[in-house]
Every structure is written in C-alpha cells, then in structure tokens.
C-alpha cells in the first residue's frame, strides 16, 4: 500500500517535470518566432540574414505547435507523450556542451578579428546571427549523434 502510494507520487512528480519542460520549450519557441518576425520587418540587410530569420520562425513554429499539441493531450490523458530518462537528459547536456564550445570559439575568433580591425565594417548582427545559427546546428547534430548511439552514455 505504502509502496503504491510512493510509486504514485513518483509518477506524478515525473509528469510535472515533463510538463514544465514542454512549457519552457513553448516559451523559447515563442521567443524565436517573435525574433524572426521582428527581424523580417526591420532587417536592413536582407539576403543571407533572411535565411536565418526564416529558420528561426520555422524552428519556433514547429516547437510551438508540438508543445501546444502535447499540452492539449496532457489535458485529456494526463500524459505529455514522452518520458525524460537519464540517458536522454545526459545526451542533451552533452550536446549543449558541444554547442557551447563551438559558439564560444567562434565568438573568440570574431573578437580577435575585430580587435585587429579586420571586421570593423561588419555590424554586430551579421556576426552574431551566423554564430548563433552555427551553435544551434552543432547542438542538434551532436544530439542526433548521441541519440543514434555514437559515444553512448554507459
């Protein structure tokens, strides 16, 4: 009886954690969409920056729809449709570490180049935009790599 209660509490706690993750994901997705829309309207450079802004809207829209569907499903069934296990969490953390290292290295290189007055004519958004896109790409690539079993967590 007591074990059952404890198990029930654990399941409820785990579900709360997953709902929190879905809500956080929806908030970040909303931010990405806002960022994309704002830059489309106020982007003075156009060209390659438009590709980045559309990719932000696409990724944000995908995650927002996915999160909304999961939250609606949660209202009906009480489950968000996925379970956070230790392996999944560890892979995500390892992937974000890779993304962080690449992002910081890229920004360092840009900082050195701008200190040598090589990049003096290039504005801040044109440097940081590709850096962020590169960081996100590396994060997703590393995450998929770890999920497929490369360098698997024992």
């Amino acid at each position: 009886m007591e074990t059952g209660k404890r198990e029930g509490r654990e399941i409820k706690k785990g579900g709360e954690k997953e709902i929190k993750i879905v809500k956080r994901r929806a908030a970040v997705a909303g931010f990405f969409i806002l960022f994309g829309i704002a830059t489309i309207f106020f982007n003075p450079w156009g060209g390659i920056m438009d590709v980045f802004t559309f990719s932000f809207i696409f990724v944000g829209g995908f995650f927002l729809i996915d999160s909304a569907m999961r939250l609606m499903q949660c209202k009906k069934t009480g489950e968000v449709g996925f379970r956070i296990d230790e392996r999944l969490e560890m892979n995500s953390l390892r992937a974000s570490r890779k993304g962080f290292v690449v992002l910081v290295s890229f920004l360092s290189a840009m900082l050195v180049l701008s200190a040598f007055d090589v990049l003096w004519a290039i504005p801040f958004p044109a440097i940081v935009g590709p850096a962020l896109a590169l960081g996100v790409l590396v994060y997703f690539a590393a995450y998929v790599y770890y999920e497929k079993g490369g360098g698997a967590v024992p």
Partner: protein, 108 residues
C-alpha cells in the same frame, strides 16, 4: 576521457596578443584559464553539473544574442553594437562558471 570544456582553456593563449597589440581587451581571454582545471573531471555528478552549466550559458547566449539583434533592429542604434558583443562574450563565461559553482555547492 577528457572533458570537452577543457579545450576552451586554450583560448587563454589569445591573451598573449596583448603584448603584440597592446590592447587591454585581449587580457580578457585570461578568463579561460579556469577551464584547464576541468581536465580530470570525470565523475558522473560533476560531468552532469558541467553539462547543466554549459546548457545555461548556451541558453544565455541564444536569448541575449537574439534579444540584442532585435533591439538593434528596432532602435536602429549603432552605439548598442559596441557593448553588446563583450557582454555576450563575457556573459557566456560568467554564466557557465557561476552555474558550475552553484550546482557544485547545491550538490547536483
């Protein structure tokens, strides 16, 4: 197995450019030296804490970078570009190291 964040320690060598260029900004790269101490951290809990710290710093750079770009677009102000870059760069390192300290003290 080496920790990935250990490689960031090598960026501290860029501070030597101070002696070439004489710009004090290059001394900021000395902030990467603490990353050398992460070389032998293979304990599972510490590895998890490092991952969380890197995730926080990664999220900071994503949100701050995107926010700064939007602000620059909206206000059309050139003067914002100069402080935004160092804040993004320094903030990355600070968030990572402070998060690591926090998780280490909190106990995972």
């Amino acid at each position: 197995m080496k920790n990935t964040l250990w490689y960031l320690g090598f960026l501290s060598a860029l501070s030597l450019l101070y002696f070439v260029e004489g710009k004090a900004a290059f001394l900021g790269f000395l902030g990467f030296i603490p990353y050398f101490f992460l070389y032998k951290l293979n304990d599972e809990r510490l590895e998890e804490n490092l991952g969380r710290a890197a995730r926080n710093a990664f999220m900071f750079s994503m949100l701050f970078g995107a926010g700064a770009i939007v602000c620059i677009y909206l206000t059309d102000s050139v003067w914002l570009m100069a402080p935004a870059f160092p804040v993004l760069f320094g903030g990355n390192l600070l968030v990572c190291l402070l998060s690591l300290l926090y998780y280490d003290r909190k106990g995972g």
